[in-house]
Amino acid sequence: MNVQRSAGGVAAVALGLMLAACSGGGDGDADSSATDGGVTTITFWNSYTASDRPAVEELVRRFNESQDQYVVDMTIQPNDVLTDTLLPAYQAGKGPTIVTIDASLVPSYVEQGVFQPVDDFYDGAVSADLLPKASLDATTYDGKQYGVPFGATPTMLYWNKTLFADAGVDGPPTTMDEMAEAAVALTDTAQGQYGIAIPDREAPSVWAVLMWAEGGGVVSEDRSRSVFGAPESIEAVRTWSDLMRDPGISPVGLNGVDADTLFGAGKAAMLINGPWVSAGFDDAGLDYGIAPVPAGSATQTAVAISTNVHLSADATDAEKEAAYAFLEFWNSVESQTYWAVETGYPPNRSDVDPATLADNPTAQAFAAETNSRFYLGGLRNASQIDTDVVIPTIQRITNGQGDVAELMTEASDQIDALLD
C-alpha cells in the first residue's frame, strides 16, 4: 500500500516536472526586446558567419559603447538556419527586432506580414540618394520601402594572372567575346584546367549576367513578365552552354563553393563572384586581378548582392527608434569605411572617399563598379522562380538534355505563371 502510494507520487511529480518543462520558456524571455530603465534593447539576427563576422561584431560593439540609450543584442547563425527559423520565430512572437536576409526573400516575408515599412528612416540622417540603388529597388514592395542596406556589393570578374600569362593571353577581358575567347584559350581539359568556373546554383547568378549582357534576362525590368524565352536570352545561354560542352570551358553542375574552390586551386582561370572570396584566394597565394564583368553586345552590368536590415512588424516605437539609431550608425561614413577596409565590401555610401580604402584593394576595386542589377528583386515567388525553374532549366541545357530554345520557352511560361 505504501509502495503504491509513493509510486503514484513519483509519477505525479514526474508528470508535473514535465509539464513545467513544456511550459517553461514562456515566462521571462517572452519579450526579448525590451525597454528597461531608459535603455532599449533590440535583438538582431544575421548570418555573417564567414570572414566578415569580426567586422560586424566590432561595429555592433562600437555602437553599444557609443551611447547608453540602446543595446543591440546580436545573434549570428548560418544562413539556412536563420531562414528556416525566422518565420516560426515570428509566429511564436520570439522573432528578432531587426534581421538581415537576402533581398530576394523580402516580398514573401512581407506577404506573411512579419516586416513593417521603413520609409521614414530615409527622412533622417542618411539620405536614400547616398545608398545603393539596387538594394533599395530590391527591397521595395507594393510601393513601400522595407529595407535599409547592410551589405551591398556587385559581382566582379576574378582572373588568374599566372594562368593568363602562361597561356600568352592578355587580360582581363573587357567584352563577353573576349571572355569567351580567353576561356577557350585557357581550357586544357587533359590537365584538368578550365577557362572559367560557371556555377549553376548556390552562388550569385552568373547566368543572369551572361543574359543581361546580351539584352536578355529572366524577368523584364518592370518585373511584369518573363524574358527568359526571349531570343537574346536563348542566344546567350546557347553560346555559353555550347562552350561548356565543347571544348569544356567550365565543368557542368558546379555549385558556388565548387566554383570558388576550382578558382582557388588554380584550376579555373576566371570566376565571377563577390568580394568575400578574395580573402581565401590571398591565403592560397594566388596572383589574381579583379576587373569589371565584361560588356556584352547590349550592356555591361553585374549582379548586385544585397543584404538589408528589416524591421519586425511587432517592433514598438522605442524599438524602432533604437533600430534606426543603429542603422544610422552602421551607415555612417566612419562605420562604412571600417566595414570596407576590413571585409573588402564596397562601402554602402557613395560619399566615402575611395582614397580611404587604400588598405584594401579588393574594396577599392569593388567600390569602382557601379553598374549592377539585383537578380529577381521585388518578386514574391523569386526563390521558386530561381530554384524550381531557372536552375533546373540551365542544368538540363548544360547537360545536353534537350533543345535550348524549347526548354527556355517552356520555362518562360512557367515563370510567367509565377509572376503575379
Partner: protein
C-alpha cells in the same frame, strides 16, 4: 413469481454499500498509478506525434503558408497531385530508390551477418566497422561521400579511373546521381540490419543445426531449411524497416545533390521540405506528407501479410 425477484433486485440495489469492495478499490488505484506512470510518455506522443499529424491533416485541406491558418480548400491539394510533374517525378524517384535499396541492403546485411556469426579473427572489429555508418550522422558522412565522388577532386573517380571505370560527372551527372545516393543509403543501413540479423541468428538453437547436419544436410541445405525459416521474423522486421527507411530518404540527397540535377534525385521527403520551407506552401507539403504516410502504411501492411503467410515455427 416476478414480484419477489423485483423485490430482491430492489433490495439488492439498496444493499450495495457506499464503498466499493476492497478488491475493486485496489484495481482502481492500480489503474490510476499506471495511468500516472504512462502519462509522461503519452504526453510526449500526443504533443510530438499525434497532434502534429492531426494538425498536418487539417493543414492539407487549406492553402496555409508557414504563418497563419490559411483558408479551407477541400481536396484541392490532393487532386492537384496527379497533374503535378514534381510530385510524380519525386514519387517515381522514391519508388526506384525503395525498389533498389531495400532488397540490396537486406541481402547484404544477411550476408554480412552470416559471415560475422562464425568464429573468425577480428570479428568484433568487422561488426563495429559495419555498424559505424549507422551511428555516424548521415549529414556528415554524406559530405564526405560528396567529396569522395567529386569528379574534379574526389578520390573514387581517380582510383576507379585507373581500373578503367569512368564515374562521369559524379553526383552532378543526371544519369549517375540517383545511383550514387542509393549507394550511400545502402552503405549506411547495412550495418544496422546486420545487427538485427545477428540477433536473430543467435536465437536459433544450435541443436537444430546439429540435427540437420546429422541428417546429412550440407551448408546450403542447413541455411535454406533451418536458418532462413527460423529467421523469418527478423527478416520481416528488417524488410519493413528497410522500406520505411527508403521512403524517408532525405539526408544524403539534401547534402550531396540538393535534389538535382534537375530533380533527378528529388524524393518525396525532399519535395515536402521544398514545398514547406522554400515555397511556404504548407497545404501542398502536408498533403504530400499524408500521401507518404498512407503509402508507407499500405506497403508495410502488405509486407506484414506476405511474411505472416510464410511464417514457419518448429
Amino acid at each position: 413469481m416476478t414480484a419477489p425477484t423485483e423485490e430482491i433486485a430492489a433490495g439488492g440495489a439498496r444493499a450495495v454499500p457506499a464503498r466499493l469492495p476492497r478488491r475493486a478499490r485496489l484495481e482502481r488505484r492500480r489503474a490510476r498509478t499506471a495511468a500516472l506512470f504512462l502519462a509522461p510518455a503519452l504526453l510526449v506522443l500526443v504533443v510530438f506525434v499525434l497532434w502534429p499529424m492531426v494538425n498536418a491533416a487539417w493543414l492539407s485541406f487549406t492553402d496555409a503558408g508557414l504563418i497563419g491558418g490559411g483558408e479551407f480548400v477541400g481536396l484541392e491539394n490532393y487532386t492537384a497531385l496527379p497533374r503535378d510533374d514534381r510530385f510524380t517525378n519525386a514519387l517515381g524517384n522514391t519508388v526506384l530508390y525503395t525498389v533498389v535499396t531495400t532488397p540490396l541492403s537486406v541481402l547484404l546485411a544477411l550476408a554480412a551477418a552470416l559471415a560475422l556469426n562464425r568464429r573468425l579473427r577480428g570479428r568484433g572489429f568487422f561488426r563495429a566497422t559495419f555498424f559505424l555508418p549507422f551511428v555516424a550522422s548521415l549529414s556528415i558522412t554524406a559530405i564526405a561521400w560528396a567529396f569522395l565522388f567529386d569528379p574534379l577532386v574526389g578520390a573514387l573517380p581517380a582510383w576507379l579511373g585507373r581500373l578503367g571505370l569512368e564515374l562521369g560527372n559524379g553526383v552532378r551527372d543526371p544519369e549517375l546521381a540517383i545511383w550514387i545516393v542509393m549507394f550511400v543509403g545502402i552503405w549506411r543501413n547495412v550495418g544496422f540490419f546486420m545487427v538485427m540479423f545477428l540477433a536473430g541468428l543467435q536465437s536459433i538453437p544450435r541443436e537444430l543445426q546439429e540435427a540437420a547436419t546429422l541428417d546429412g544436410a550440407g551448408a546450403w541445405g542447413r541455411f535454406r531449411h533451418v536458418t532462413l525459416p527460423l529467421l523469418s521474423n527478423t527478416t520481416m522486421f528488417v524488410a519493413i524497416i528497410a522500406v520505411i527507411f527508403s521512403f524517408q530518404a532525405f539526408d544524403q540527397m539534401y547534402v550531396m545533390t540538393a535534389g538535382g540535377p534537375f530533380f533527378r534525385t528529388e524524393t518525396l521527403v525532399m519535395l515536402i521540405y521544398n514545398r514547406g520551407f522554400d515555397n511556404y506552401d504548407m497545404g501542398s507539403a502536408t498533403a504530400i506528407s499524408w500521401v507518404l504516410v498512407v503509402l508507407v502504411l499500405v506497403v508495410s501492411l502488405a509486407q506484414l501479410g506476405y511474411f505472416r503467410r510464410r511464417e514457419v515455427r518448429y
